[in-house]
């Protein structure tokens, strides 16, 4: 109890501190861990294979001790009637896009954190709670998080979610690439359970190679685009699809990374998601930070790469 109130006090004071100094970053901001390992892992999601069984959703919740209905209930396909987004209670969700005209099947798309190579959430986090790890995952340190939610606004994919209903010490939640499982040599829970092997786990390099191979082997099946190969500077999770990603509500993003993040935020918001009005207010501040960050990031990259 003492610990908790102390932590809350620290969080609050940090936030106030940030407010007083007009978000002048250098003083508050801790240097985040940012490693872009050559052999970082990733997952290739082949949306042409996914059947929307949502076993991955169940496995993800189970692996993260989140409350879940029994696995059989996931056969219920009525959930696809509306589009869902990952939130604090479901770190990954599968959506369905009904078949059009001559399509034989609907298209199911699993959504979760993309584990960006140049993660906007890492750049946006003023206390350095977010980090990009050797194995490709983008994770965060709950103890450092002050609950400012900058990561939510910065993320071009609207991934980080906030446990709003937890009044005491709410936390950011998002797919952590099953950091604890992979550390033990296990596969990410969703990758392990998927009956169709929609999700291929491997080094990002080998996945891109494989994705290109698939496109050239089955030119009728795939469009010539690996989503995440270049988007926002590349992501560890990559997608293949049979039709334009925009039709599957993937945000149209450029290849620009951190320096262009502010642009990416606006894109993301207007393209497919209306965040709480409060977040708009933050936008200005974030843009300003990012401008600052553009310079400091440049220096950082020299160190790390």
């Amino acid at each position: 109890m003492i610990n908790e109130s102390r932590r809350k006090f620290l969080k609050t004071s940090a936030l106030i501190g940030a407010g007083i100094t007009g978000l002048s970053t250098k003083s508050v901001k801790a240097e985040p861990k940012y490693v872009l390992d050559e052999n970082r892992m990733g997952v290739l999601i082949d949306t042409t294979v996914c059947i929307g069984c949502r076993k991955c959703e169940w496995a993800c919740k189970t692996a993260h001790d989140l409350p879940t209905q029994p696995i059989e209930s996931y056969d219920d396909r009525t959930v696809f009637e509306k589009m869902r987004r990952p939130d604090a209670k479901a770190l990954t969700v599968v959506n369905e896009y009904p078949p059009k005209e001559t399509d034989q099947f609907p298209i199911n798309v699993k959504v979760q954190c993309m584990h960006c190579d140049k993660p906007a959430c890492v750049s946006a986090c003023i206390v350095g709670a977010f980090s990009k790890e050797e194995n490709g995952s983008v994770i965060w340190d709950t103890d450092k998080c002050i609950g400012c939610r900058y990561c939510m606004v910065a993320c071009p994919f609207q991934i980080p979610a906030f446990e709003f209903e937890k009044a005491w010490h709410p936390d950011i939640r998002k797919c952590d690439f099953c950091f604890d499982r992979t550390k033990e040599g296990k596969l990410p829970a969703c990758v392990e359970i998927c009956p169709m092997e929609v999700l291929t786990y491997g080094t990002r390099k080998s996945l891109i190679e494989r994705a290109h191979q698939k496109i050239s082997l089955y030119p009728d099946r795939y469009i010539k685009h690996i989503y995440g190969e270049f988007e926002v500077g590349g992501t560890s999770w990559l997608y293949l699809a049979s039709k334009d990603f925009h039709e599957l509500q993937f945000p149209k993003l450029g290849t620009n990374t951190a320096p262009g993040v502010s642009e990416a935020i606006q894109h993301g918001i207007f393209a497919y998601f209306v965040p709480p009005v409060a977040l708009y207010a933050l936008l200005g501040g974030v843009m300003w930070i990012n401008k600052k960050k553009a310079e400091s990031n440049k220096n950082k990259e020299v160190h790390h790469e």
Binding site: I51, D75, E101, F105, V191, E192, P195, M196, Q213
Partner: protein
């Protein structure tokens, strides 16, 4: 016990298959090494095989009844929560027979015997080679492609029973080799399409011409059709308005659909393919017994062949052409003439006789020795 025997029977040929046998079958293949291997000297340790699918290179064609009747899929029994699936191989082979045949599932088969899924697909998901799915993924990718469209459902218990509830009695296989499970699908002789266009409302499609005469394989038109083509349980939207390209998709791989409308469309039902009417080249005279491919050497390409005899026969000489076949024996009467003396134009079909023969000898009294063709 019987179950075991079936599995052993199915696997035995694969296990026994020796290296020497493989080599001898390799030699018989009409392939170069680079068709399948990416390095110059493939070894047993490093065969450097090119990525799947290689079905276009090596294929197997067997009758459904030549394969096993039932296969018990139990390769994943140790890790799975579900009991092994009793898979009716015969029923599925019969259904596949209407589309791509064995290749529908056995999409790659090295020379020799038919191999099963687990010979290529590993049982572990965490593995180095990600160029092909693991066994579980491979099974489901094959099954769900059709089962999804057949039932519109993806529920696990459509095919699976959890171990505790499963009937683990071995499968009974009655020796009914001759009995089909899926009734045979008879190909229609012709289909008359009543199209929506004003001009040329009718398209009479002679199915047997396409499969017989033009040598199309079922899979060339029907490859992406699953059970749902006939047994759709998913309600189709009322009437889908297809684009021109969509409507003509199947025909356009061979037919010029943008300009040659009246080749297929007419105001009444039309007759089957007639080489003379369609191309102006009458096969009846000398070519009636020939297989199309003797002249149309590029598969599925029938246009663009020049009608002149030399196109196929090359330059005629005494050695390579038996003039007797035309009905006129080149004996001493005509034997010493140059071809051009009678055949003034390159068509060769209408010889000029009047240079030597007058009205009396030709055509009234035919010159030379004629034999019955």
């Amino acid at each position: 016990m019987k179950k075991l025997i079936i599995i052993i029977l199915f696997l035995a040929p694969i296990l026994i298959q020796s290296q020497t046998k493989l080599n001898s079958t390799h030699a018989n293949l009409n392939l170069t090494c680079s068709n399948c291997h990416s390095c110059t000297i493939p070894t047993k340790e490093n065969p450097c095989l090119k990525p799947c699918p290689r079905e276009s290179l090596i294929r197997i064609d067997q009758k459904p009844e030549e394969g096993p009747r039932v296969i018990v899929i139990d390769k994943l029994r140790d890790t799975d929560i579900y009991a092994p699936v009793k898979f009716s191989h015969l029923a599925h082979a019969e259904m596949a027979d209407m589309t791509g045949g064995c290749r529908t599932c056995h999409h790659y088969n090295p020379p020799g015997n038919v191999i099963g899924c687990s010979d290529c697909h590993e049982t572990t998901r965490k593995r180095a080679d990600i160029t092909k799915p693991d066994l579980k993924g491979a099974y489901h990718q094959q099954c769900m492609n059709c089962h999804r469209s057949w039932s519109g459902k993806t529920d696990c218990n459509d095919c699976h029973v959890v171990k505790e509830k499963a009937d683990l009695k071995p499968v009974k296989v009655k020796d009914e080799k001759s009995k089909r499970i899926h009734p045979e699908v008879k190909a229609p002789e012709k289909i008359s399409f009543n199209t929506k266009t004003d001009k040329g409302k009718f398209v009479t499609f002679y199915h047997n011409d396409h499969t017989g005469l033009f040598g199309l394989e079922c899979s060339q038109c029907h490859s992406n059709e699953s059970c749902a083509k006939c047994h759709s349980q998913i309600k189709k939207p009322a009437e889908i308005k297809k684009s021109f390209a969509e409507q003509h998709k199947k025909c356009s791989s061979c037919h010029e659909v943008k300009t040659g409308c009246n080749k297929c469309h007419s105001n009444k039902e039309s007759g089957p393919f007639n080489h003379k009417i369609s191309t102006g080249f009458d096969l009846a005279k000398f070519h009636s017994k020939l297989n199309c491919a003797r002249c149309h050497t590029t598969p599925s390409k029938f246009t663009g062949l020049i009608k002149d005899c030399v196109t196929c026969h090359g330059t005629w000489s005494w050695d390579n052409f038996d003039h007797k076949k035309t009905g006129l024996v080149l004996n001493e009467t005509h034997g010493e003439l140059d071809c051009e003396s009678c055949h003034k134009d390159k068509s060769y079909a209408n010889p000029t006789c009047t240079d030597c023969h007058d009205d009396l000898t030709y055509p009234k009294n035919l010159p030379g020795k004629l034999i019955k063709r």
